[in-house]
Every structure is written in C-alpha cells, then in structure tokens.
C-alpha cells in the first residue's frame, strides 16, 4: 500500500458545491418533491438551483420561474437566502479546518483546501479524501471535487467534474493536458478580455495556451497570461486562509415544520457534525452547549447540555440531546435549530481517523458518560460526590462535592458510623433509660466534641456508641449544656 509520490509543492482540493443555494435551505430535513431556489431581486424571478426531482422534469438553473412552474405546477419554491449561504459556507470552512490549516472560501460556491501537509497525517491521500467526501455527505452537501497542484486548476476541474469520483492531478506535468478543455466562461476573465478572446475564436484554456505568449499579453492583457501561469502552477497564487471565529454559533433552517423527535435529531446531527469538525480543527472540546429550537414568532425552546468533561464525541452529544428531547414538551412546531457552543476548552487530540476505534473509550470517558446520562435525566443536583472536610463537628466533617476533582480525605481515629442522620433526632427516655426499640446500653464513649464557637454554630457534645436489644448500633450524643437531652446522630450500619 505505497502512496503515490507527490511531486507538487502544494496540493489543492477544490470542493465545488453545485447545489449550495438549495442545500443550505433544505439540508435540515427531507424534501421529497421537486424544489427550486429562486432569485427574485431582478424583475424576473429565475431559478438558481433545482432539486434532482425538478431537474428530471426539465427544470434548469437560469430558467424563469414562470417557465419552471409551467413544467411542474406542484413545484415548491424557496427564496434564495444569500446571508444564510454566507453563514453556511463559513460554517463549512470551519468544519473543514479539521483537514488542513489552509481553507479558502470560494464565495457562494465552495472551498479550496491545501492538503499536501495533511496527507501523511491522514494516512494517505485516499483516506483523507474519503473522510472529506463522507463528511460532506453527512452534512448534507453534494460536492464535486478535484485535486491539482494549483488552486485555480483544482477549482476549475472540480467545476468541470460531473462525477462523484474525485479528479486527481498530482503532478504539474499532467496539469496542462487536463486543463486544456476548461471553457473560457469558467476562467472568469475580465469582461473586455472575455469579449476579445471570444472575438479571436478562443473557446478554452488550451486555445489560449497554444497562442504565442507575447501576442496574447499584448492583445488580452498581461493579466490573462498571469492567470494561465497561475493555473499551471508556474506562478505563485497565494490564497487567503479562512480563520474561523473562536465561537461556534450556527443556525439550520428546516425546510418543513418539524414536530417529531427524529426530525429534530436529524437536523441537530448535521449541526453537531459541524461542531465536531470545528472542535477537531482547534483540538478542543465543548463543555457547555445550547440547542435552541425555534418556533417562529420569536418563540423558542432552549436546551442546555452541560458536560462533566469536555468532549467532541458526536454520538455522546446526540445521545444526551435525545434524552433531553424525550422530556421536552414543545409549544409548537420547529422551523429552525440553532446550536451555540457556550464553553469551549482545549482537549488532547486523538489521532485523525480515531473514529475507527470508537468502541474503545478511555475509562475516564466512560465514567463521565454515566454521570452525564444520569444528570441529563435526573437533574444536575441529583448526582453528587462526597468528600470529607477538616472540621470536628460531625455534621460538617463531610459534604457533597463536585465529581471532577478528587479531594484530600481525612480519617478519624475514633469510630464513625456509616450512616449519618440528616438531622439529629431527640431520644425518648423511660425509667431513666434511653429508648429506641428497647432500652439502650452504652458500649463506648464519651468522646467529647467541642468546636465551632467562632462561627456561631458551635457544638459541645459528648458522643457515645450505644446498642439496643435488636443489635442495632447507634451513635448518640448528649449536649453538654443540657445533659439530660440525648440525640441520635448516626447508625453503625
């Protein structure tokens, strides 16, 4: 299994999203029928993207909405949301940060990823591409991809690619031949140059390359020659890396109103996948997460997931969310789901591809998985740890504790009962003998405990171990100020 040697200095992965305007609106759920996204800012609304069901019926991008409706009267029409698209592409770029530190946005259409350095980290280019492809699919995006030594080459070839298969050009020498058929329209020339080139009968990239460079530069401008050189990796073509904001806040619109759990989990899963990629990119985990279900009219249902240890485990997060959703009563249908990571902390990175070994949780993870499951269902206060406190007063020698940090423990040299009563209980007396299920017999004591005068909750007691006829062993005390008053404080269980 030897990986092909990569001669190029850089290797760019072009990720072209042909149905992006539609998918940003529809990937939150399932839309079975034919759908189009239209742009109605110009006088005549026209189709920007059509779903597969609509394309089969003959609807195409660029078609007037009225013509599309003639073809399919039942066509569902969504209005293009360019702001949403921008946010979605940012989210996708942040997610892609798990594969490389150099992600560049191709506004409205896709991403460019420089992946040369990541090949080894992901154990070969095939495995890397497989993860990118599966990841995009899980997020709900259709992608056309190509790899080439130059960003322009990768981008154009990705756009030309009509197959799910990834076009791979790992070698600069092969680039010219592959780029030959790239049509002029894809090359995005300045208007005048484009018109002039057309006038000269040039149709594709190869046509331009076959002309003498000097003449080409004189007639169409040096810009064009630079463009050819950049595409062929003969001239540097630096790209601005996208740097994601330090916070994660994404909103996913649902294409249809959702009432049911499975619909919500479906949408939340896509958001959480983005979050996991985002966290992976910055070797971080999330401690606190808000999932907000929007009901329209500014009404919403908030679900806060608090975790004991930071995580970026999708299954764990989904599991917790599912448990919470089971207990939430929704006031209305949900039209969008928002996900906000409120507390992100660094996390030791497991190697990429660790998903293969998911079955092996570390013992620590497994521990807190349990704690979180219990807390989600029973409430955070219902699951507690214990610790000792350096205080002589028995009721203050312990307390409930957070689970995260082990505390130092104190051991008393004198007998202490395993059960402590919530409140000391006053004992009955009969014939001057203490009674609990019969007369008590003192077997040890007194142990004098006198402490706490400084905080106004002082105690001055004499403790004894007592035994009743049943064989129950009790921890009892007498107040020094009222020697006739006896109390039960614990049981030697």
């Amino acid at each position: 299994m030897s990986a092909p040697a990569i001669a190029a200095r850089q290797l760019w992965l072009g990720v072209y999203l042909p149905h992006f305007p539609l998918e940003t609106l529809s990937r939150g759920g399932a839309l079975p029928g034919p759908v189009v996204v239209v742009d109605d800012r110009r006088s005549r609304a026209h189709v920007v993207t059509a779903s597969e069901a609509a394309r089969i019926e003959g609807v195409q991008a660029g078609m007037a909405l009225s013509s599309a409706l003639t073809l399919i009267p039942s066509l569902q029409v969504l209005k293009r949301d360019e702001i949403g698209e921008g946010a979605a592409l940012d989210g996708l770029a942040a997610w892609a940060g798990q594969f490389t530190s150099l992600v560049s946005l191709m506004v409205g259409q896709g991403l460019l990823l420089e992946v040369k350095g990541s090949v080894r980290l992901f154990r070969g280019i095939d495995s890397l591409l497989e993860q990118v492809r599966n990841g995009l699919q899980a997020l709900g995006y259709t992608a056309r991809m190509a790899i080439a030594p130059s960003p322009l080459g990768a981008w154009w070839l990705a756009q030309l690619n009509t197959q799910p298969r990834i076009v791979m050009i790992l070698d600069r020498a092969a680039l010219a031949k592959q780029l030959d058929p790239v049509p002029l329209e894809l090359m995005a020339l300045p208007k005048t140059a484009a018109a002039m080139a057309q006038g000269m009968g040039l149709k594709c990239f190869g046509d331009c390359c076959r002309l003498p460079r000097q003449g080409l530069a004189r007639r169409l401008g040096t810009e064009l020659v630079r463009l050819l050189d950049r595409a062929l990796d003969r001239y540097p073509d630096p790209r601005i890396p996208y740097s994601p904001p330090p916070v994660f806040e994404r909103c996913l619109p649902l294409p249809a109103l959702v009432w049911d759990m499975e619909g919500l989990v479906f949408a939340a899963r896509r958001l959480l996948l983005e979050l996991v990629g985002f966290l992976q990119a910055r070797a971080a985990g999330v401690l606190c997460l808000d999932i907000t279900l929007m009901h329209g009219n500014a009404k919403y249902t908030g679900i806060a997931l608090e975790l004991s240890v930071a995580t970026r485990d999708l299954h764990h997060l989904l599991d917790l969310l599912r448990m919470r959703l089971e207990r939430v009563r929704l006031p209305g249908a949900v039209d969008a789901v928002r996900c906000t990571a409120r507390h992100i902390v660094p996390l030791d990175a497991p190697p990429p591809g660790a998903a293969l070994f998911r079955a092996i949780e570390t013992p620590k993870e497994r521990d807190y998985l349990l704690v979180e499951r219990l807390r989600v269902r029973l409430g955070a206060g219902a699951v507690q740890g214990l610790c000792t406190v350096a205080d002589h007063r028995p009721e203050r020698a312990w307390r409930y504790a957070a689970l995260e940090k082990p505390k130092p423990s104190f051991v008393s040299p004198l007998p202490r009962p395993l059960w402590l009563l919530e409140q000391p209980r006053m004992l009955k007396q009969m014939n001057e003998r203490l009674q609990i299920g019969g007369a008590l017999e003192l077997t040890a004591g007194p142990e004098r405990i006198e402490s706490g005068w400084w905080d106004g909750e002082g105690v001055a007691r004499d403790y004894f171990v007592a035994r009743n006829p049943d064989g129950t062993r009790l921890w009892i005390f007498r107040e020094r100020d009222h020697p006739q008053r006896w109390f039960l404080h614990g049981l030697f269980a």
Partner: protein, 209 residues
C-alpha cells in the same frame, strides 16, 4: 495456538481492549474468611444481583460489604448509592479505605427514576457496585437489574425487607442478616451454583475486617 486465541476472542464477545474483561465472572472476597469459604468462587459474585434482607438498619449491613466496596473503588470504578436512606458518612467511608472520589450519590424523585438510574449505572461498564434500598421490589424489576448487572459486569446490591424472602428471586445471591450478641448472623437463603444453605457468624459489630 495463536489462531485459536483469536477465534476465542472473536466469538466470546470479550473485547481484548476492555479493561473490565477480567471482571467477567469474577468473585470479590468479602473480607470475612468464614463467609468467603461458603460462597462459590470465594466471594461476592460480580455481574449479578446480591439481595440483602434486613429487618432494621444499623446492624452492620454496610460493614458486611464495605471491604469489597473499598476494593472496587480503589480499582477506579464507581460506587453508586441510589437514594440511600441516610447520608453515607464520608469520614467513616474513608476509614474503611473507600476512595471517596469514586462515590456517586444519586437521588431520584420516584421509584421509577431510581430504578432507571440503577440500571443505567449497572449497564455503563464504569461501575463497580450499585447499591439500592427498597421495601418492595418485584421479580420483574429484580430480573431487569440482574440483566443490567450481567451486561455491565457490575455488582448490584439490593437491601430489602425480610418479607421479600417469600418471593422467588432471579438474584445470584440472597442473604438474610440478623444481629446477635456474638456478631452478625449471615444466613444464605439462595446461592447460585451451590446447594449449601446455612448461616455464618461474622465478627463483632464493630470489627473492622
């Protein structure tokens, strides 16, 4: 030889990675040699339910199991106390060698929540022991606990009233406790894999194993 080991691992459902693989079918010494002698495997059966029937609290019923609990906590496994009737007193627990950082006290508002919590804990593969107190637990609930304990290879301890002795039990072990002048009398009412029934007297009330 190597092949056969691999085949065994594949078919036994035991993951060689899981740290708890060795806990399967394990018996944990009780800390009382007289009792260990009478129990099959020489101790408390892990991955099963142990029913402890007592008439009253405070007769040494926790001391009976505390040695094993301390052992499990030192192995880094949770000790889960589901809705204990009183406060498990931390200074006493440390006195018996229990690692407090492994103790979880879980409160449920209803019986159903408590049962759910106990089952989750048993199934989690992260617990050493799960303790529950109940006046009545029917056979079906006990069977669910038994399955969860098997699944998570944890020790389920249920404290019940002596009346429970009238019902059939799916538990691996059922004990009845009675205090006597000489110490705690532990009567074995049911013990899977062993026909012996009888009583063992263990240390004075305040004996530390």
């Amino acid at each position: 030889m190597k092949q056969s080991i691999e085949a065994l691992l594949r078919h036994s459902g035991v993951s060689p990675w899981a740290a708890n693989a060795r806990l399967a079918d394990r018996h944990l010494p009780t800390g009382f040699p007289a009792l260990d002698e009478k129990l099959p495997g020489g101790g408390w059966p892990m991955g099963a339910v142990t029913e402890i029937l007592t008439g009253s609290q405070g007769i040494g019923e926790l001391q009976l199991i505390i040695w094993a609990l301390a052992q499990l906590s030192r192995e880094g496994r949770w000790l889960v106390w589901v809705a204990p009737p009183h406060i498990p007193y931390a200074p006493a627990l440390t006195g018996y060698g229990v690692d407090l950082s492994r103790v979880l006290v879980v409160q449920g508002r209803t019986d159903a929540e408590q049962r759910w919590a106990a089952e989750q804990a048993l199934r989690s593969n992260a617990c050493g022991a799960v303790l529950q107190w109940s006046s009545s637990m029917n056979t079906r609930a006990l069977r669910r606990l038994q399955l969860a304990a098997e699944h998570g290879r944890a020790w389920a301890v249920v404290f019940l009233s002596p009346r429970a002795a009238h019902h059939a039990s799916p538990a691996g072990l059922r004990l009845h406790l009675a205090p006597t002048r000489e110490g705690l009398e532990v009567k074995v009412l049911k013990c899977q894999g062993q026909a012996w029934r009888g009583a063992v007297l263990i240390g004075g009330g305040d004996a530390r194993p």
